[in-house]
Amino acid sequence: MARGGQAQGDDGFDAYFRARRDAVRRTAYLLCGDWHRADDHAQAAFVALHRHWRRIRDRDALDAWMRRTLVRSIVDESRRPWRRERSTDAVSEARPAGVAAPAHGPADAVATRHVLVDGLRAVPPRQRAVLVLRFLEGLDVAATAAVLGCSPGTVKSQTAHGLTALRAALGDALDDLRTAG
């Protein structure tokens, strides 16, 4: 995780931006399931950060703040009247139920990625955020709770519910993950 502690002024921002842009985009992508929207959210978070850059005292807290801003922005957007998300019972037709798990060719790898992203979109936004923070970002329960502003117990229960929802959505589509549970 990049730190901006040694950075100063706009130069420090540039260094932080270069170090973290792709990681922030990836997190946004798994949170919203679309690269274009992910770029919108990531850019918005970096713009917000830049506007505060000179007033930031605790540069070690940058990553946590970016995560919090990103999650809040995407979860809030999913609840807005014009983009209210509808949960689905199953992933899209990326892989019909009952079809064997992917082999290891390039095409299968692409299909696997799409299946997981589709599965995540079927998970309620807050639970999805918990899963992304924990399994993509590698945060522990306490750090995830701090980002989301909730208790560690809530993170644990939402992890459990999120995993259940993800596996239910995946069905037979991704045997690796299904059997992992």
Partner: protein, 280 residues
């Protein structure tokens, strides 16, 4: 993972497989759609826009206050000179003075531009996202909001920007009069998504007593319907909707920041939406 998670997540070995699958799913991003220059430019554009909105809003408040003061002090005989009486009130020293009139009226604008209320926020307060829009007109729009809020202007109506403003200063001016407790509240993070022209939006991080949450106001122009409440509506959200004087729709919603807490100002939303509807 603890026992509760293990029920759903299985043994620790699955954690590694899950993490690998998550990493792989996002491992091949397309070329980024923005660079550091875009971010810095958008940030500076917002700063310029806010300063412009601050100046326009403050001038409108001072003008309204000046006209009102002339009417009260001069009585009927002073009416012909009331427009001239507003000129001294536009003096910046007057606005910053201790007399409580114009200075009190400009307090929300100062807070919006990073005044004391915002500076007192935590180390990093969430701030608005860049909103694509034309460079001019925001200040005038904020002034229109002030005029509508003061009851001296027509309904605010649809926005005029090419993309709807997600943190609309005119809408904020109206809200702060309908619900003064949110004056100076930090703006919540929003996205850069270009909403259709005509809409207006506002999202604030608010606090009522010991509870905090998100208060949002959305204006939809005539002909644009609000989705019916859906299954994805967060359980803690409270929303009120009303038809506006311009034929549009206003939605005011409040959501607690943490599950189980009451939504801030939930018992005030009826009054707020009733006050906003004739002004929008």
């Amino acid at each position: 993972m603890d026992e509760q998670e293990r029920d759903a997540g299985g043994a620790g070995g699955s954690d590694a497989r899950l993490a690998a699958a998550f990493r792989d799913a996002a491992a091949h991003p397309p070329p980024a759609g923005f660079d550091a220059g875009d971010v810095v430019a958008a940030s500076r554009r917002i700063t310029r826009r806010r300063r412009s909105a601050l100046a326009g809003g403050a001038l409108a408040v001072l003008a309204v206050a000046g006209v009102g003061t002339a009417g009260l002090v001069g009585g009927p005989e002073a009416a012909p000179t009331s427009s001239a009486a507003s000129a001294p009130a536009a003096d910046g020293r007057r606005a910053a003075g201790p007399d409580g009139g114009p200075a009190a009226g400009s307090a929300p604008d100062a807070a919006r531009a990073g005044g004391p209320a915002q500076q007192a926020a935590p180390e990093l307060a969430p701030v608005p996202a860049p909103v694509p829009q034309p460079p001019d007109g925001t200040g005038a729009d904020a002034a229109a909001g002030d005029a509508a809020a003061a009851g001296g202007g027509p309904p605010l109506g649809p926005g005029t920007a090419a993309c709807a403003d997600r943190q609309d200063p005119a809408l904020r001016a109206l809200l702060e009069r309908a619900l003064p407790e949110v004056a100076g509240a930090p703006e919540a993070a929003v996205t850069t998504e270009c909403r259709p022209a005509g809409e207006r939006g506002l999202a604030l991080e608010v606090r009522e007593g010991s509870t905090s949450g998100l208060l949002s106001v959305t204006y939809l122009p005539p002909g644009r319907a609000v989705d019916p409440p859906g299954v994805a509506e967060p359980p803690a959200a409270v929303a009120r909707t009303a038809a506006t004087a311009s034929g549009g729709t206003v939605v005011v919603a409040s959501r607690a920041g943490r599950a189980g807490d009451p939504s801030p100002f939930a018992d005030r939303l009826d009054a707020v939406v009733a006050r906003l509807a004739p002004q929008l």
